[in-house]
């Protein structure tokens, strides 16, 4: 059973995830249980194929466990229908993807504004919050530019602004620095750390990046689909 308190941002209980490819079954997660404390900067680390991304997908409510339960912000996500789950994500979960995944036909401003539209924020508030968030990530002057007119670092800043603009409880970032050079990666980590402190958001990262791992409040080491280590702070 999980050891941490009941107010965990994320609670996984005996979670397994099995993928089936034809006749072959692959166990991506094999009975994982842990809590992610709120307002933390948590890292899920492990070698490639260890099940990090699968774990993040479950925590991000975009996949369902084969067995076990996943609770996010106190909601058992396995019990929600697709639309309810989608609405839950829209309100509570922000994503920062490795490949930025911005909507290419929208400007930086529109990309950041998009999540607010989905949760029905009124136009005036939307504008105010979008501009504030772009300002927070240092991209106010690039607000009209499309993703193809931005550098990798700028795209990732837009992605972070998009994830944070709705002030979600949880932000999931899958290898957010993987496509960035060291300097830009450091700046992005610094930015995320800053906004985490400011907005009290729970960040969950999947990463190999030692630079990012060094900022961890909690570290979960996964190997072969199992939790092999859980440590407060960074793993050396």
């Amino acid at each position: 059973m999980p050891e941490t308190d009941r107010a965990a941002a994320v609670r996984l209980t005996e979670v397994t995830k099995t993928y089936r490819t034809g006749a072959i079954e692959v166990a991506a997660l094999r009975g994982i249980s842990f809590d992610i404390p709120p307002h933390s900067f948590s890292m899920v680390v492990g070698p490639s194929g260890s099940g990090k991304t699968t774990l993040l997908n479950l925590v991000g409510c975009i996949d369902a466990p084969t067995t076990g339960t996943v609770e996010v912000c106190g909601e058992k996500i396995g019990e929600l229908e697709d639309n309810a789950l989608t609405d839950f994500r829209a309100r509570n979960v922000g994503f920062v993807f490795q490949g930025f995944s911005l909507v290419p036909v929208l400007s930086a401003y529109e990309n950041v504004e998009y999540p607010l539209l989905l949760i029905g924020v009124p136009a005036a508030q939307r504008r105010e919050r979008t501009l504030a968030m772009l300002d927070a990530v240092g991209l106010k002057d690039q607000s009209r530019q499309r993703p193809n007119e931005l550098s990798g670092g700028q795209k990732q800043r837009v992605a972070i602004a998009r994830a944070l603009v709705k002030e979600p409880t949880l932000v999931l970032a899958d290898e957010p620095t993987a496509n960035l050079d060291t300097e830009t990666g450091a700046a992005i980590i610094e930015l995320m750390h800053r906004v985490q402190t400011r907005f009290h958001t729970t960040f969950v990262f999947s990463t190999h990046d030692p630079q990012l791992m060094s900022h961890a409040d909690e570290t979960f080491v996964i190997r072969d689909g199992r939790l092999v280590e859980h440590k407060a702070g960074a793993v050396q």
Binding site: N57, G60, I62, D63, D82, N83, T86, D87, R89, A90, R91, V93, F95, F97, G99, S101, V103, P104, V105, L106, E110, Y114, P115, L117, L118, I119, R162
Partner: protein
Amino acid sequence: MSLLFRIAFRNILRNRRRSAMTSSAVAAGALAMLLFGGFTSYIFAGLETNNVQRIGHLTVFRAGYFLFGAGNPAAYGIDHYRDVLTLIGTDPVLKPMINVLTPTQSLVGIAGNFSDEVDASKTFLGVGLIPSDRDRMRQWDQFQIGAARPPDPLLSDRDETRGVMGFGLARILGLCARLGLADCPPLPEAERPANKIVAAVDPDIAGLAQRDVEVGAASGAPQIQLLAATAGGAPNVVSLAVSGAEPQGVKELDDNYVAMHLALAQQLVYGRGEHKVTAIELQLHRSQDLPAARARLVSLFGEHHLDLDVRDFGELTPFYGQVVRLFSAIFLFIALVMGVIVLFAVVNTMTMNVMERTNEIGTIRAMGVRRGGIRRQFILEGALIGAIGATLGALLAIAIALLVNRAGLTWVPPGNASPSPLYLYVLGRPGRAIGAWLGLVLVATFAALIPANRAARLPVVDALRHV
């Protein structure tokens, strides 16, 4: 909603070449449908105009005439037809609708040319009419296709003895030279009087004919004799001064047609008895009033216990309905072919769009866009491609129609003897043009539904993994 449109529109521009090709397919569909639709609309308008000019919108007969009267028109005369004309013409409902209200007399008989050079006779189908009313009817051009015809100088209210005939009948009666008709060969030798064995003619009829020949000879126009049975069954003959010949669109009619003043026709059919008419024709200002006018006539005749029947021009000229059905079927076929082409073009394009944007679909689904939102996004893109293509096609069709309409082209419509101007009536029937536009947009929208559903059903995780 505006973001949905923005994204849809920008995604269309994102793959400009692909979107342009698909829109071109839709535009080609719209172009073909609107141009052919414009052509058929013009044909329908032309046929309707031709019929309405000739017999009006509605014709009142004595009950039974429509089914049996052609064999003996004289037996189906409308009694006290002047009273009926007054009843119709003064009715407050009908009066504002009516453009021309005129009586006509149909008749059948034998037409003969018994001059010194020619001795020819032929059965004829005749109509007696009021020339000035006929001229007014020929001015009708509701659809403004330039079909209004000038007054016919061959018939006159003031000269009851004048008439016109079909080109073929004039040829058969040996009147080509006398009427100065081009491309009209003279009678063969065997048909000349000197070479014919002439049967003995009843002396009374011969006497009547001889009297009319003498009267007609003074006017200078070639004279023919029309022999018919009166309503009472007695033979009667009148002489007709042939002013000219008009080609009729159908050979059977061309070889039999005679038009004359109503008074002459009545004299031939009714002699000294009560003059009646076989029909009262109503030409309305607007074809749209036809159902209302017909209903009012039926009600009026019922109220006055008149044993009269009302028929519209479509019933009297089945050819009109046949042409409308034929061209409508061809239009439907073209529309179906175009619809299938548009369907496949849009399905193909939208399927490629879904494949290329799978990762993007995963991203926005993860952000909180429902399956329905994804579906709406792609359906809207399909609809926009359809709308852009259909609008381009429509604009192109209008431009081509303007060029053709100003080019002064002519053609001979089916059933007509003389060429008519060729128009493409693209905007003549806005309902059809709007229907074609809307139909193509709906097909494009429907076509997008298939890939849109596929996109909406994609599992978020699989979509995000897609490279």
